[in-house]
Symmetry: D2
Subunit: 350 residues, 4 copies
């Protein structure tokens, strides 16, 4: 059986998980190499996973002949450049979200992919979650009628350490967290967001203001075909990792989300209590595996990826508009949809 040769760039928490999944859970793939600017970390992961190659740069890894596809799991701001390099080397790409942390980078990356004729998938793994997948199937079957309202929230347990903010390696809240919900907002509604309005807060973490970042946000959405929506994000919800989405339709509605960590309930005179999900790997561990299997399968059989670069660019445009609204004290901002469509058209040829 022919297998897809894969290299992983960036083996922090996320990249290491991808590498493990490829190594152990994706029979159609062969993990050939990992690369990380922290060479020790790359070697350690290669050792743990019993693979031969550990590199300290993407370029070194790209020279490996048998690598057909590259998984990009670097900090957010390096995504676009890595896409450009991998595309230039004629590798197919699965890049973690976001596509980029600004429009110019995103466009350059898209152009590089189109010109090289390679394929690009963006890591919106929630689309592979059994709950979201079941919801989408019912929506596509017309069971909720016309969608009227989109609601989604994503709450993280703990804010990243202040060093991460200082290093400025990830985009702000909208690029790093909310972008998942912006993707769901398009996908589940089968419609485009044309305008957004954002209120944000640094309550309880005023020091984030200096980095242009926020603790929580509430973003209102306006859709092209008349529906509306809202997306809430919070990086310090303390109680757990909580992702929930609702689509209210003209005939029925769908809710997706679960909060419990285990199916055990403790009941005492003090009440009933359950442990709560506290990490995205607990909630979406299976989705990451399904995502990788689907990507590998499609690449191996010359099919288009299920989540495209265009999807990444459109979600990015929503994040950009949301950040602009945040900067302008809540003034609504249009998403530059036409612009995206132009790129999209090009991208669709790839």
């Amino acid at each position: 059986m022919k297998k897809l040769g894969v290299g992983v760039l960036g083996v922090g928490e996320m990249g290491r998980r991808h590498a493990e999944n490829i190594r152990r859970l994706v029979p159609e793939a062969r993990l050939l190499a990992v690369a990380d600017v922290a060479a020790d970390r790359a070697r350690q992961v290669a050792n743990d996973l019993e693979i031969d190659h550990a590199f300290s740069s993407l370029n070194e890894m790209l020279e490996h002949r048998d690598i057909d596809a590259v998984i990009i799991a670097t900090p957010d701001k390096f995504h676009a450049k890595a896409i450009e390099a991998a595309a230039a080397a004629r590798k197919d790409i699965l890049c973690e979200k976001p596509l980029a942390t600004n429009r110019a980078d995103g466009e350059r990356a898209m152009r590089a992919v189109t010109q090289a004729g390679v394929r690009l998938q963006i890591g919106f793994m929630r689309r592979y979650d059994p709950g979201y997948d079941a919801a989408m199937k019912r929506i596509e079957a017309g069971e909720i009628g016309e969608p009227v309202m989109f609601k989604s929230l994503g709450r993280d347990k703990d804010v990243p350490p202040i060093e991460a903010y200082r290093a400025n390696i990830n985009g702000m809240l909208f690029y790093n967290n909310t972008i998942h919900d912006f993707d769901l907002a398009r996908w589940l509604m089968q419609d485009e967001v044309i305008e957004v309005q954002a209120y944000t807060t640094v309550a309880i973490r005023p020091e984030l203001a200096q980095f242009g970042d926020v603790v929580a946000s509430s973003v209102n959405l306006k859709y092209r075909h008349g529906a509306i929506g809202n997306v809430e994000s919070n990086v310090q919800a303390i109680y757990g990792y909580d992702v929930r989405t609702e689509v209210v339709g003209s005939k029925a509605s769908i809710f997706v989300g679960s909060l419990e960590k285990t199916p055990a309930t403790f009941v005492s005179a003090a009440g009933g209590s359950r442990s709560l999900c506290d990490h995205f790997f607990s909630r979406f561990g299976d989705a990451y595996v399904a995502e990788m299997r689907d990507f590998v399968h499609n690449m191996l059989h010359d099919r288009p990826p299920r989540v495209t670069g265009e999807d990444g660019m459109r979600a990015l445009e929503i994040a950009i508009a949301a950040e602009e609204s945040h900067r302008q004290a809540g003034a609504p901002q249009r998403c530059t949809a036409e612009h995206v469509e132009l790129l999209g058209a090009t991208s669709a040829q790839a």
Copy 2:
């Protein structure tokens, strides 16, 4: 035992329920009369509840000497005038939400109450629901720390008949539905909303546009002390009557809401299913009783009401700002908080 003599104005669905509650479930009150412009309806209710007096106007009822307090449950746009009349007759008042459907009416009603030295409670019955009450107790005890985010949604099963829109007897969505959430937004957060932004939709019911009304809305909130929030409303959610609220705090969070109609679950090869709550009396039936008992008790013992006219005016100001944002295509609008405070100061003397 001295009892509070009570008259009920307006005995449609809501007023009739109040009258029944007073007659049967509030031992400290004596239901003396009901009044309704539909004289037949008033007589029918008086007959069913076995009370002596049915009037066809508020003024007739106000002449009844033994009436100490009046419950106002007319269509929304008559609330303010009824408050003025009842205040002039020196009756204490429990008025259904909203206080009024515009600022001028609201202010006139507030002034009448202040000048007459009577007491006014607004019917925000959710504050009496065991779930919301339990939430507030924990918030007041500091258990969630500093509140960061307020979320609330209210979805009705079926849109009112088009005749109700034509008659224009209730305020639009924000005044008739969302106002409950605007009250919770202040009460649970112990803070004031200073700015709002609203997107609305007439999707699936375009004929509502001619009445200046909408099917659904998403209103973003900005608070004085830095917190933010969002309130969603929908008059045609089809699947049921669904009211849920969340307060995310710096130390913990609280969710309030329940959707099931009965504690029965049916499980078959097609899945597990439960009947859903479909009416506000199913969800808040006990809250209406607790509200009336509390109002009656406070009036009887010369105490201030738990939910004041000022609460009604402040919630109204948020609704007015939300409607203005809706009219201006989503431009954020300030709530005229100072104005309310002035009135509030006066009102507090009552």
Copy 3:
């Protein structure tokens, strides 16, 4: 409107609640009197409910001409005698469960009712709970197919005070608690229990053994038509008041039960917690009202009661068999079904 004149015998916690319900929530009834061997308690309740008559014995109350029906809420062991007296006075009767605490008493009570030609309802109020009612409607509609397995549990928060055991005024666990589940076992399965087997424990409360009572039990059931079942009871579950029932059918199954006290959830780093139901009035408050309304309505309109004396006798027979199994170290015991049928036939003529 003609009303049913009602007197309540025994105004402890349960009887007082019945009296309140009749006084306030059952428009077709008029509460005329209460009686209690504790004369002070009777007077207090009469005073609180603003009714004229408080008696210190059933016989005195029975002399009141306008009393059409008597509610019996004495301690269990006095039920049968009270039924006999009320029947002799030609009053219709709603008697709290159990019908009696032994077979001889139960049979005497049944005979008295039959001979007097009055009607007798037993207080199995769970049949009036919206959850159980919804379950039964689906079962009767054939939606679960053929019932295969019956499961039910009833757990109380706290064991009664030891004085209650010393006074020996209630039957043991099976007569006072499990009898509710024995009734559901017949009603929901539409079949008769023909044999039972019981294990019991005095774990954590060994002092109950001297009273012939137990802390918890697990009773296996065998049905006439081949189905089987199990009923668990516990008087000291500490965490709350928990009643749940399942019927597993050949096509589908139904679960009834709820544990939460309010629709509020508190989530913190320690997990998610909810307050639990802690008293049967919280869980079945509405069922008691519905039960009384139905009884009153049927008596007033000369209809048979919905839960009959025969139902009480059959549940009692199951309890007697369960106690016998308990005494014989778990040996299975037949229920004397034929015997009951004989009585039932007579009772059905009433």
Copy 4:
């Protein structure tokens, strides 16, 4: 890194899953071979998993020098013989439940293991489920106080095909299904079951009677230290795969179980519905992986297995007693605990 060489015997649904788990998800193990009397099936699995050796008999596989441990996943009645053979070949063993389908076989297997000085784990994978694991940790920490009542149920969606009954390759309901709950009954209660009583039914599947088997059962349990319990099983619950357990303690209680297949809820005017879990791999997929990792780790590091052969023998003794009670129309039966202890003592030396 030294790895444990593993061979899998029997690659039907269960064995194939074990083989996949070892191959992909247990880094400390190396899957060397599979064996199955259906040689084609063995070759297919070997091919799919890209391993070298497929055998058509256990004996052939046991000759493979590098195999350190054998996983036994044959039909139930071959378990004991396979254990004997593997033990004779000095292999450590993980055998699917039950240890055997009768006492003589079980004892022979235990003796073989003891004499060979190898280690034997029985596949009670529920002990590795995060829910059951969390429950046990709280119980061991004393959080529920003294256990008073054990309740467990296991319901399968569909009865096995009639051919499986004809072939008589698995034990009856108690050996094949209920044995999981019998193991939990000992483990979670940290106590021994000394007596059982069983009612069973062939309702809706009378043809099972000819095979000595049943559709559903309710088994009452008596514990050595005074607690009691009940275990329900059903092979044809239609609505899904449902496993739930409760331990009621003197201070608090614990419930384990979940029924939903995905975190998606569909709400319409017909009610709210969720897909239900329909297979043990959906519910316990992660537990099977954790079980295998733990077994492999312990074997590799010369530690005793977490679930022992003695555990398997004791659960078997409960099943034997339950079957005897079933045969004797529900007469209670003692578990031959002393006998087990004798074997246990020997086994503990291994």
